[in-house]
């Protein structure tokens, strides 16, 4: 909710700045900083790309094995399981099954 309110607020600031710039005929004034910083903040909030790895929605059976690691995603609150591919060394994150099932556990050989 804070994100939505901030987006609207900064967008409104940018629009107000542009209106001020238009009202002053493009001459230097308070409109320019408002328009520029409002636009920058709006853009920054809108295209924020900070997530490392999305939780994979497709649980393809493939070569993934469960590591036994589980955690609760702080953003969505869902329980996430960590899977491991022994061939590539990749790890991925997928929603933990709700029916009690899981991928086969991988134990050290």
């Amino acid at each position: 909710m804070l994100r939505a309110v901030s987006l609207v607020g900064f967008a409104a600031l940018a629009v107000a700045g542009l209106l001020l710039v238009a009202a002053h005929g493009g001459r230097p004034g308070p409109g320019w900083p408002m328009a520029i910083w409002g636009s920058v903040a709006t853009l920054a909030l809108w295209i924020e790309r900070w997530r490392y790895r999305r939780i994979e929605r497709e649980r393809d059976g493939g070569h993934w094995q469960a590591t036994g690691e589980r955690f609760e995603d702080p953003e969505t609150g869902e329980v996430v399981e960590v899977l491991y591919d022994a061939h590539s060394g990749e790890r991925r994150y997928a929603p933990a099954p709700t029916n009690g099932g899981s991928y086969p556990e991988q134990a050290p050989r």
């Binding site: 804070l2 901030s6 295209i47 490392y52 790895r53």
Partner: protein, 107 residues
């Protein structure tokens, strides 16, 4: 790959020590996240933007460490630890390090 913070793993014995392994990452929330975090800090409570940033950074570091350990031929990492530092005012450095080993089941 088993990743543990202990030296020994019950039921398994270390057959070979491959050496130290680590994964490091530097992450930032960017301008948008820092603006939100600054606004949230005005009222107090959990700053979820930074909580999520640090969670993601730790997972990224562990993933890198695991990949490096696999490249070394290990099947487990023992004595795993985290270390963190700040770079600038908005960036967080996380390093996950441990000892890459080859474990064998005692059974």
């Amino acid at each position: 790959m088993l990743v543990v913070t202990t030296e020994n793993v019950p039921g398994f014995s270390v057959q070979e020590v491959k050496g130290q392994v680590f994964g490091v990452v530097v992450r930032s929330r960017g301008l948008g996240g820092n603006i939100l975090a600054g606004l949230r800090s005005l009222v107090g409570g959990e700053i979820t933007e930074y909580t999520q940033l640090l969670e993601e950074a730790r997972r990224h570091a562990v993933d890198r460490m695991v990949k490096n350990a696999r490249l070394m031929g290990a099947n487990a990492i023992v004595m795993m630890r985290f270390d963190s530092a700040e770079i600038g005012q908005t960036m967080s450095e996380i390093v996950a390090y441990g000892t890459a080993v080859v474990l064998e089941n005692d059974a």
